[in-house]
């Protein structure tokens, strides 16, 4: 069984594991007390770069490299934004970290702020996590009282303020420039890049946006070392100079039709089948999986036959999925209609499209309306071609939108139509025996977006 002793989840199940005293008893904050007085920010950047840590929020970009994009010798301020707007369907690993081990997250924030020379860090927390809000605020208060936040942390001369900032239930705030706009008090419309946030971000100052789990990884790398981190996971492919490898432990969220849903820590590269069988106790009720989402709904679908795909940063892409995403694995059993699944996916994205770019606003809305029509027994085979066309034309990859939300909306459509086309065709022919072959235009249904 490809397991490792839980490190990121060390505090889960420990009584009062979320408190400062408990975190210290596990070796927490020793790195802050040692590194801050002795090391330079560049040393911490080098450490994180050398570890091969890739951002855990979904895109998998090298964390240390991201930090080096900040301008050198900037007079400041430089801002650190922590993305805790975890809203990707199926994903809850950040919630577990914030509720059960908030000091681990805070230690990562202190080290990352030191590395990036930020003196203010904002944690952008989604509204729907009230328990995380209270736990984090309590941890921040404890850290200030202990001299781990505020002026001159542990006598090092480095000062940092950490503030919690609460969202208002919008998925788009997880996109890093949408998050920045929202923090500035505006509608969360993602910005055109460049300039990237490292050059011009929050309040038009250089900004780094990092995920909660990434912060926990930084804390553990500082405590356990680069070699420990690199001993876990999948090394870089020597035949592919562009593959930086997938190092370290990862929090996999397992939900849907499994016996034991939950957040599990495993080395990057565990296969979906191992995760489902060994951690999740198998598909529920002794059934078989029809499809599995590899990393949040926007990553698309794997079929049962593709479940031996390793869930590292390179794996899901090899079977046509968008990527590893948030590593949120959702199991869909054989009794579920793929039409219902795609309807659910399209409804989510139609609701959450921010409305800024026309291909996304209209594409997500029309794909939902088509799925509504198909479910109502009025589908035509032509709809499948139209859906495939929407899937192929909206997003950053085809170059028609500002951010990746539309790619995330497109991928489940593309994967579902390609991998389960026969089921769609059967459904349409059975539910619309007299109209499935019609190609005339049909009247529009009502608009569905939230923004």
């Amino acid at each position: 069984m490809p397991s490792c002793k839980p490190v990121l989840l060390e505090a889960v199940g420990v009584p009062d594991g979320h408190t400062l005293a408990s975190y210290r008893s596990r070796g927490g904050y020793a790195p802050v007390e040692k590194l801050l007085p002795e090391k330079q920010p560049a040393d911490v950047v080098e450490m994180v770069k050398a570890s091969g840590l890739r951002g855990r929020g979904g895109a998998g970009f090298s964390t240390g490299l991201k930090w080096t994009f900040l301008p050198k010798d900037h007079p400041g301020p430089i801002y650190l934004c922590i993305n805790a707007d975890e809203s990707e369907p199926g994903t809850f690993n950040n919630r577990i970290l914030m509720e059960d081990d908030p000091h681990q997250v805070l230690e990562g924030i202190i080290l990352s702020a030191f590395a990036t020379r930020a003196s203010t860090a904002y944690i952008y927390l989604r509204y729907e996590y009230p328990r995380s809000w209270h736990r984090l605020q309590a941890a921040i208060d404890e850290a200030y009282a202990a001299g781990l936040l505020g002026k001159n942390i542990t006598g090092s001369g480095f000062s940092l303020d950490v503030y919690l900032h609460r969202g208002a239930a919008a998925y788009i705030c997880g996109e890093e420039t949408g998050l920045i706009e929202s923090l500035e008090g505006k509608r969360a419309w993602p910005r055109i890049k460049p300039p990237f946030p490292a050059i011009e971000g929050l309040f038009r100052k250089p900004t780094v946006v990092n995920n909660i789990e990434t912060m926990a990884c930084v804390a553990q790398i500082a405590r356990r070392g680069v070699d420990w981190f690199k001993s876990i996971g999948v090394p870089a492919d020597p035949n592919n100079p562009r593959d930086p490898g997938s190092y370290g432990p990862k929090l996999y969220c397992l939900s849907g039709h499994v016996e034991r849903p939950g957040c599990y820590e495993a080395p990057l590269g565990i296969t979906a089948r191992q995760l489902i069988e060994e951690f999740g106790g198998g598909v529920w009720k002794g059934r078989k999986a029809k499809a599995v989402i590899p990393g949040g709904i926007s990553m698309g679908l794997m079929t049962e036959a593709e479940l031996d795909t390793p869930l590292d940063f390179a794996g899901p892409g090899k079977v046509g999925c968008l990527g590893l995403g948030t590593a949120a694995v959702v199991v869909i059993d054989e009794t579920v209609s793929i039409v219902d699944f795609l309807h659910n996916s399209c409804r989510f994205f139609a609701h959450e499209s921010c409305g800024q770019c026309t291909p996304c606003r209209e594409g997500t809305s029309w794909s939902l309306r088509m799925l509504e029509r198909i479910k109502a027994g009025k589908g035509r085979l032509k709809d499948l071609d139209l859906l495939a066309e929407i899937g192929a034309t909206m997003g950053m990859m085809p170059g028609s939108t500002i951010c990746g939300l539309a790619d995330g909306a497109a991928w489940p459509i593309k994967n579902a139509i390609k991998k389960f086309r026969g089921e769609f065709e059967d459904y349409i022919k059975q539910t619309n025996p007299h109209g499935w072959m019609v190609t005339d235009p049909v009247p529009a249904l009502q608009i569905v977006g939230a923004h």
């Binding site: 509204y127 209270h134 208002a168 919008a170 923090l183 969360a188 309040f203």
Partner: protein
């Protein structure tokens, strides 16, 4: 500062001002201010938007633009004393989320986003609540209701609950 505020209390303004040192400009206080008003009034009427704008030195349209984007803040009338978000995203849907929402609306005689006539309960469909390990789930004020059956949820939503923070 405006002399005659009709909706924002001195206490609300004090709470907003207490957060001001956290940000380099006052526009960033927009979401916190909306949350402060909403926590008290369970909605943010247009007059409150104008007063928030005056406190922050913004045009009312700037605050209103932000408010309407999020669809979180009711404007016409307050949401219920308990606001229940029923998750309908994929992990909950696979375990009966849509059915749960339908059942709860029917049991309380309201449509989704509706409020019971006594003002006790608002039921709103929600996208992923980030509690897929407890699907299907409901967020009722600050309480996460886990692994809900329609019957258990209907009973749980009848219980009085602390205000959302």
């Amino acid at each position: 500062m405006i002399a005659h505020r009709k909706i924002l209390t001195d206490e609300m303004v004090a709470k907003i001002e207490a957060l001001a040192p956290r940000y380099p400009n006052r526009r960033a206080l927009t979401l916190p201010a909306l949350h402060i008003v909403n926590a008290e009034l369970r909605h943010v009427p247009l007059q409150a938007v104008a007063e928030i704008a005056a406190v922050l030195g913004l045009a009312p349209a700037e605050v209103q633009d932000t408010l309407t984007f999020y669809q979180f803040f009711h404007q016409e009338k307050p949401h219920g004393r308990v606001r229940a978000f029923v998750c309908r995203s994929v992990s909950c849907a696979l375990r009966g989320g849509d059915h749960l929402l339908e059942h709860l609306c029917k049991a309380n005689g309201i449509d989704p986003y509706g409020t019971t006539p006594d003002g006790d309960l608002t039921i709103e469909p929600a996208e992923c609540l980030g509690a897929c390990d407890f699907a299907p789930c409901i967020l009722a004020n600050d309480d996460l209701l886990k692994n809900m059956t329609p019957e258990a949820a209907a009973a749980a939503l009848k219980q009085p609950r602390a205000k959302a923070t």
